[in-house]
């Protein structure tokens, strides 16, 4: 245990992107969690007389066009980004990894089928699917989650298959087969754990993409619906006041940029940390 702690501590200094990424991601998650129990004001409190107020002790980042507290909107908006990111990545990871494992284990026709379906799915960007879903079911945050989740499936299917194929060629898989393990058991007991580091890295990066996609969809009015606060909606609201109150666009923009940067750096850092070949060369 102490060896492990020493190793990760030691590696932390050698991977500054991991430290910065983990800190930013930590802040993001902390903001979302904190807003569940406490925020300076309710983000739904409209106070038109005090609209577009400058930062003050009462309103740290001022108020928006409806007099809502911007700091509270940002905090509560983090919940939304986090929720969409987590659920969309979970959908993509679970279905995609299952398909990728299946493709790698079966080979031949099933593998070709899964991979061609993935190619096909790639032709539809998340935003396009979300517009389709919004047209069918009316715009909601659920559309955004589904569209981004479905978009993630082929991404994870490809990464999983490529990594799993590599594991299937290793000696210990032959040994497991010689011990009588079947394809399903080998996939879950031996292949999956061995590709988990790669999947973790991919999940972090897809998380960043999902956060970005959710803000894009909300900005377009296809994701989170008012009055529920979201960073994308805040950008949209700020657009009309671009020249009177530019700070209203800067705050959510900065929040999005820092959250996405943090997640990308975390993914990058994890990649360095978990890939022994890279670690050795540093």
């Amino acid at each position: 245990m102490s060896a492990l702690a020493a190793r990760s501590g030691h590696s932390g200094f050698r991977h500054p992107s991991l430290v910065v990424g983990a800190t930013l991601t930590g802040l993001f998650v902390f903001a979302a969690a904190l807003s569940l129990v406490w925020a300076p004001h309710s983000p739904f409190d409209i106070d038109v007389p005090h609209k577009l107020a400058a930062p003050s002790p009462a309103h740290w980042l001022g108020t928006d066009a409806f007099g809502r507290d911007v700091a509270s909107l940002l905090l509560v908006g983090a919940q939304n980004s986090l929720l969409v990111g987590v659920v969309a990545v979970a959908i993509g990871l679970i279905i995609g990894a299952a398909l990728g494992l299946l493709a790698a284990a079966m080979g031949g026709f099933p593998e070709d089928l899964v991979m061609r379906l993935a190619d096909f799915a790639f032709a539809f960007p998340a935003v396009l699917s979300a517009i389709l879903l919004a047209a069918l079911f009316g715009p909601s945050v659920l559309d955004a989650i589904l569209a981004i989740g479905v978009f993630n499936v082929p991404v994870f299917a490809r990464v999983t298959r490529a990594a799993a194929r590599g594991v299937w060629r290793r000696d210990f898989i032959l040994a497991a087969r010689a011990a009588g393990s079947g394809t399903l058991r080998i996939s879950l007991e031996h292949v999956l754990p061995n590709i988990l580091p790669g999947l973790t890295v991919q999940a972090t990066i897809q998380f960043a993409t999902a956060v970005l996609a959710e803000t894009a969809l909300s900005y377009l009015g296809l994701g989170t619906q008012p009055p529920q606060p979201s960073w994308g909606r805040m950008l949209n609201d700020a657009q009309t006041l671009m020249f009177q109150a530019p700070q209203l666009a800067v705050y959510p923009g900065l929040a999005i940029a820092l959250a996405v940067l943090g997640l990308n750096l975390l993914g990058d850092g994890l990649n360095d940390l978990l890939d022994p070949r890279l670690a050795r060369t540093r």
């Binding site: 080979g107 290793r170 000696d171 210990f172 032959l174 040994a175 497991a176 087969r177 010689a178 011990a179 009588g180 393990s181 079947g182 058991r185 007991e189 031996h190 754990p193 061995n194």
Partner: protein
């Protein structure tokens, strides 16, 4: 009926240069309590034969002929049936203990795996049985090492873990493919002694594959010498090594390194190299490299000709071969 009967086994591989036979019409049988060795150079087909016996040939390889385990043809069996046979009735030990263990599972878990699969033991019961097995293969400090991960153990210790795993369900047949090739010399003899002892205690059949003639001579009662995918000589180990009937066996014997040979003396070598399986000549595979080659050698694969009781060699020039000089000991 013997425990294992291999009849006219042929393994066809899809090579870059088209289909080619890595194993060509191999037949042998092996009964419980017997030990059988397969020897020959790299590429002679011995490992392919071993993999065919446990029906784990690489993708793209096709086996024909029959591999009968207690009369059941494994080459025709369903994958589900094979999963019930592998690790249960046939145990296998591999060449590379460094890579044959999953780096992410503790050793006790890997020994317990076949027990949970075939015996349906609970996690706790399988673990207890695995600990007993690790004790039996004399894993150093077994109860502490059981929780270790493969990278924390030495090669010899890992091979002990693999042996424990292969023997977990008490198989009737143990297939050991170059089990000691990756180990240093002292560990080699320890592992071979361990295998011999366990095989003897359990009354298993042992199929040992090794390129090392010394390993053959000390560990198996019957030896098959393979070259170019076919068995060129087979017989009781003592007879094979005392008569050296086939010119290839004789060449292999002369080429082995020996202690006490004067410094600066070169090892005897067989001229030429093993032909690629796609280039095998139609007749005797050893024709051309053999000092006794005559035109008739390339006409057809020689039939097994008797040398002594239970001892045969595929060579049409046996009389001449038996007069070739042996390596000085």
């Amino acid at each position: 009926m013997a425990l294992l009967e291999v009849e006219e086994l042929t393994v066809r591989l899809a090579t870059a240069r088209g289909p080619a036979d890595a194993v060509r019409g191999v037949s042998f049988s092996l009964d419980r309590g017997q030990t059988l060795g397969l020897t020959g150079e790299s590429g002679s087909g011995k490992s392919m034969t071993a993999l065919a016996v446990i029906a784990l040939l690489p993708e793209g390889a096709r086996a024909s002929g029959r591999v009968l385990l207690d009369g059941e043809d494994l080459l025709a069996a369903s994958e589900r049936r094979l999963c019930a046979v592998r690790g249960n009735r046939i145990g296998m030990i591999f060449q590379e203990p460094m890579t044959a263990l999953d780096p992410l599972h503790s050793v006790v878990r890997q020994v317990a795996e076949p027990l949970r699969l075939h015996r349906g033991l609970s996690a706790g019961a399988a673990r207890a049985e695995a600990l007993r097995l690790l004790d039996r293969v004399r894993l150093a400090d077994a109860h502490r090492s059981a929780a270790a991960y493969p990278h924390q153990l030495s090669g010899g210790q890992r091979q002990r873990v693999l042996i424990a795993s292969a023997l977990a369900c008490g198989p009737d047949l143990l297939v050991a493919d170059e089990p000691t090739t990756a180990l240093d010399a002292t560990t080699q003899s320890e592992i071979l002694d361990l295998i011999a002892e366990l095989v003897d205690e359990d009354g298993m059949a042992l199929m040992l594959i090794s390129h090392d003639l010394g390993v053959m001579a000390q560990n198996v009662t019957r030896t098959l010498v393979m070259y170019g995918g076919s068995i060129v000589e087979s017989g009781p180990t003592e007879a094979v090594f005392s008569r050296l009937a086939h010119p290839y066996t004789r060449g292999l014997h002369a080429a082995r390194p020996r202690l006490g040979v004067g410094r600066g003396k070169r090892l005897a070598a067989i001229p030429g190299t093993v032909p690629e399986i796609a280039d095998l000549p139609p007749g005797c595979p050893f024709a051309g490299r053999c000092p006794l080659t005559i035109a008739a050698c390339s006409a057809a694969i020689p039939p097994p000709l008797p040398v002594g009781p239970g001892h045969a060699a595929r060579c049409i020039r046996l009389e001449a071969a038996l007069t070739l000089p042996k390596a000085a000991d």
